[in-house]
Structures are given as C-alpha cells and as structure tokens.
C-alpha cells in the first residue's frame, strides 16, 4: 500500500534501468571481461563499505576486523558450492548467516571496549580468524581453497549491492538506526535516554557482518580460488579507508568512495612499484585536507552527525 508510493516506484524503475543498461552493454561486448572484473570488485567493495559504514560511520564503533566476516562468508560459500554442490542462493544465505553469527560471537565481548581499544581488539579477532583458516586442512589451509564454481556475475553483484544499500538505508532511518546514531554522538547520553546501547551496537555489528558475509560469498564464487591471506588486516584497512574516504555516515559516500578508490588503484597499476606509495600520499592528503571524506555526511538529513566520533 504505502510502499507503492510514487517515490518508491521511480526508485525501482531507476534501479531496473541501470541493471538493464549494464546487462545490454555486457551482451553487446561494450563491457569487456577486464571492465567486468573491476565492476565486480567495486560491487564487493561497496557491499563491504556500506556494512562497515553502519558500524563505524553511523554507530561510531571502530572496527579493523571487517575482512574476517568476509572470510567467514567466502569460506562458507566455497564449502557449500564446491563440496556440497548447493545452489548459489543457498550458499549466499548461509554465508551471510555464518558471518552474522561470527559477528555475534566477536561483537559481544569486544563491543564493551571503546575507541582505539576496540579497533585493536577487532584487529586481533580478524587475525585469529585468518590464522584459524590457515590451519584448517579441510578448507585448504595456507594453500588456499581451489576449484570454487564461478557463479558471481553482473546480475548477482548488482542486486546484492542494491539489497545491501536498501536494507542498511532503511535500518538507519528506523528506530534502531536512530538509536545507533545517538550512540555514535554520545554513548553515555544515549544510555541515559533509555537506549540499550549494547544491543544496538551488536545489532549494527551483526548487520555489517551479515553483508560482509554476502560480499565474501560473491568474492569466492568469482575468483575460483581464495586464500586466508586475502582476508588479513590489510583488507580490513582497505575497507575502512573506503568508508572514511567516502565520508563516515554517508552511504552515498561509501559507494562513491569504493568507485573512486578502485579507479585510483586501477590507474596506478601502470606504475606498480610506486602504486602503494602514491596511494599512501593520496590517503594522507585526504585525511589532512578533507578529514570528513569526499561527501562528508552527504545524505542531506544527516548533517548533525558531524561531531567527533571517538
């Protein structure tokens, strides 16, 4: 009923239009496999960044362990599709659930911590997940998990990106989302207003992990091959950089950030030796001259979030 208002119908039509445009360009060969690879990578990064933005940008909880949830998702999906021949949709759902469960397990103890301590604790959990994956023979250990069927394509990646943006956007606009934003502004005051801060912090964390699990599944079923080292803390830092670069507390920012950073690293590929050095300099300049990120709080309504997230 109310969901079928004019605004939503236009939004749905717009989403389908972009999808159709992409699909046609793929069929016509305008988008070759190299561009497709980059689009898929950008899509995965968008899902990861939007999820982490909910945790770090909106709820104000530092996390340096987001790649761990991606790893959980990737390995779950790899096992289900390669060893049990399950359809991709089943694998995605289970990956997301497994990652969300990991989010609960990691979130309950660590979210009592604040600021830098939380960052380091999540980093530690992320590394522990990676080390466990390195030492379990069933999933290939350090050699990596091979022969994962390739299912991820433009359709999957596009609709998963849309799903994650729509769900997280709606969550932020809900009662729970407002509770999260209030926690990021002042946790003590939020608690005094009767908000169960622990509950909402864990909820945000779990939603972020859920989508990271989906991103992991998409990643595993695109590259045939995954290894634990791809999900180390450098990956978590990459995701965090996208979030901060785009603007903390701006979903549009995360999308733009994922695209711009991917393009930057694409252009830098021609000078591989200096790629990371230039990347570091760009990152540094952004932090010094535009610490609020490209879009700042971007999405109109969220201006008040500007305050320091500590």
């Amino acid at each position: 009923m109310r969901i079928l208002n004019k605004k939503n119908i236009i939004a749905v039509l717009f989403i389908l239009l972009i999808y159709a445009a992409g699909e046609i360009m793929l069929r016509q060969g305008i988008i070759d496999s190299y561009i497709e690879l980059n689009i898929i990578l950008i899509g995965i990064n968008i899902i990861l960044a939007v999820g982490l933005n909910l945790v770090t940008g909106f709820t104000g909880q530092f996390s340096l362990g987001h790649a761990a949830f991606m790893a959980v998702g990737a390995y779950t999906s790899a096992i289900l599709t390669a060893k049990f021949n399950q359809p991709f949709i089943v694998a995605i759902i289970f990956s997301a659930i497994a990652a969300a469960l990991a989010g609960v397990i990691i979130g309950i103890p660590t979210l009592r911590l604040k600021g830098d301590y939380l960052a380091i604790a999540t980093l530690g959990f992320g590394e522990i997940v990676k080390i466990l994956a390195l030492n379990i023979d069933y999933i290939g250990g350090a050699r990596g998990f091979m022969d994962i069927p390739k299912y991820t394509n433009w359709t999957w990646i596009y609709f998963m990106v849309v799903l994650s943006i729509v769900v997280i956007k709606n969550f932020i606009d809900s009662r729970g989302g407002r509770a999260c934003i209030s926690i990021s502004q002042d946790e003590t005051a939020a608690e005094a207003m009767g908000i169960n801060t622990t509950k909402y912090k864990i909820l945000a964390f779990v939603i972020g992990a859920f989508f990271a699990g989906i991103a992991g599944a998409l990643y595993a079923n695109y590259f045939y091959f995954i290894k634990p080292d791809s999900f180390g803390y450098m990956k978590s830092i990459d995701i965090l950089v996208i979030v901060v670069f785009g603007g903390m507390g701006s979903i549009a920012g995360s999308v733009v950030g994922a695209i711009v950073l991917s393009l930057i690293s694409l252009f830098l590929q021609s000078i591989p030796e200096l790629r990371m050095v230039i990347y570091a300099v760009i990152l540094f300049l952004i932090m010094v001259y535009r610490p609020q990120g490209l879009l700042g709080k971007g999405e109109i309504k969220l201006k008040f979030l500007r305050k320091r997230v500590a």
Partner: protein, 292 residues
C-alpha cells in the same frame, strides 16, 4: 625443565625486542593518543640503516647501532612534524588512517629503494655459545638483553629525573595545562617521537644481528605485537610496556617451542583480547572513571 629454561632465554631475547618497540608506542600514545602504526616501519628502517652501515661502510656493531639510532630519531621527528602535526586536532579515525598511510608510505617507499627481497644481515657479532650447566646461552642473547636493559634504565632516568622528562609527563597528563606552565608542547612531542623512534631503530639493528635477515615488510607484525605488549602493560605506562614485551616474547617462544608455532600470532592476539576484556587499562593501569 631445562627445555623450559632454554626457551625462557630465547623468549627473553625476543621479548627485549618487543619491549624496545613497545616503549615507543606507549610513549607516543601516552602523549598524543595516537596509535602510531608507522612505528613498526621505523624499526624496519632502523634495521636497514644498520645493514647499510655494516655492509657498505664496514662499521662494527656498536657504531652501526648508534648511527641507526640517531637516524631513526631524526626520521621520527620528521614523520611527526610532517604527518602528525597537521592532524593533531582532528578526529580519532582520521588520525588512525593518517598513521596507516604513513606506515604504507614508509613500507612501500622503502621497498622501492631497497627492492622487496629479503637481505642477509652480516655477522657483525661472532656467535659464541656459553654453556651454563645444560643451558646454552648465545652471546647475542646477552648483548640484546644488556643493551635493552641499559636503554630502559637511561629512559627511566630521562623521564623521571630530567627536565624534558618532566615536560613529557606533564604534557601527557594535560597538554593545555602544560602549555600554560611554559612547556613547549610541540618540542616535547617531537622529543617523545625522537626517543621512541631511536629505541625502535635500536630494536631494528638488534633484530638484524640476531635473526640475520631483514625485509621491507618486517615491521608490520612486530609493530602490532609491540602494540599488544604496550596494551598488556597499560598503554602510556613505561614499565608496563617493558613487562608486556617480555611477557609476549616469552609466551610466543613457549608456544612455538611446544609445536604450535603456526598459532603463535593467534595466541598473542588472544592474550590481547583476554587482557582487554578483564582489565582494559592493562596490568599496570589505573581505572579512570568516565565522566559525562
């Protein structure tokens, strides 16, 4: 029992390295509340300077150590002035990402100049084994422990007995009040970076001498481990960082010695998380009640 004691000796050497790096972390965090991710890379550059001094300039161990310490101290001050000063007033997360960017810059900048391959550190200290009963003590172990202990004593003296040490303590307590008392906060912060980096540089040379191999990414893991050590001891507290370093070094060697070397990093992180959960301010930290 002998095995345990033997591993304890190895653990103390590794712990000394962690403790030296952890001191820099803890001092910097204590004074500007920044996790200086680049600290591990300063340690790496220290190792390379030591390598260059011994290999190309033919210096012996002690002069190379001193040159390396002085150079990393200068580098630390440059990093502070160029990178951390502009962001001193910005948010935590911006500061964290800046530190990460500095770290990446040093790692990959260094990789560009020295090439990514692992290099063999020359044998500047002839290896001699001293047997004590059934225990074997290498003279490198003794060197590392003595140098570390001397540096820590000097550091304690500097911090507690000199004027600049007093300025450092005052700034870490309340930088605005310190400024009102006529302390130059900028200079104090730079000095802190210089001292911390100089200790990291020393740790780099010691690691080169001890393990004989260095590479441009060698600073990443020890950097994080040293931070863990600093957190275990209570961040900002100097004896805490030393204790944390030794605890972590010994635990890690023990874990490796009993056949779980693949899990040694996981154990370090598990200790960290356990520590944060039961005593977030660290073993030596005081609990401060948070006010609204």
């Amino acid at each position: 029992m002998e095995q345990v004691l033997q591993q304890l000796i190895n653990g103390i050497s590794l712990g000394s390295i962690y403790a030296l790096i952890a001191l820099g972390y803890t001092m910097v965090y204590g004074i500007i509340n920044l996790i200086n991710f680049a600290h591990g890379d300063i340690y790496m550059i220290g190792a390379y300077i030591g390598f260059a001094c011994t290999t190309f300039l033919g210096m012996s161990f002690i002069p190379a150590l001193i040159v390396s310490m002085i150079s990393t101290a200068v580098l630390g001050v440059i990093v502070e002035k160029v990178a951390y000063k502009p962001i001193r007033k910005s948010t935590r997360i911006a500061a964290l990402i800046t530190a990460i960017s500095v770290s990446l810059f040093l790692e990959y900048g260094m990789m560009y100049f020295v090439k990514p391959e692992t290099r063999t550190f020359p044998e500047v200290l002839s290896s001699k084994n001293i047997t004590l009963g059934n225990l074997i003590v290498n003279n490198k172990d003794i060197y590392i422990v003595i140098i570390t202990v001397v540096m820590m004593l000097v550091l304690q003296y500097v911090i507690h007995k000199t004027k600049i040490g007093m300025a450092m303590r005052a700034t870490s307590m309340d930088s605005e009040a310190a400024q009102l008392m006529g302390i130059s906060v900028d200079n104090t912060i730079s000095t802190t970076f210089a001292i911390g980096s100089c200790l990291a540089g020393a740790a780099g040379v010691l690691v080169g001498v001890y393990y004989n191999s260095i590479d441009p990414l060698m600073g990443m893991m020890p950097g994080i481990k040293a931070f863990i050590a600093a957190v275990i001891g209570g961040i900002g507290i100097i004896p805490g960082a030393m204790f944390g370093g030794y605890l972590l070094g010994i635990t890690e060697t023990m874990v490796s010695a009993y056949g779980y070397s693949l899990y040694k990093d996981a154990v370090a992180f598990a200790i960290l998380i356990f520590m944060l959960l039961i005593k977030p301010k660290g073993l030596f930290g005081k609990n401060v009640r948070e006010k609204v």
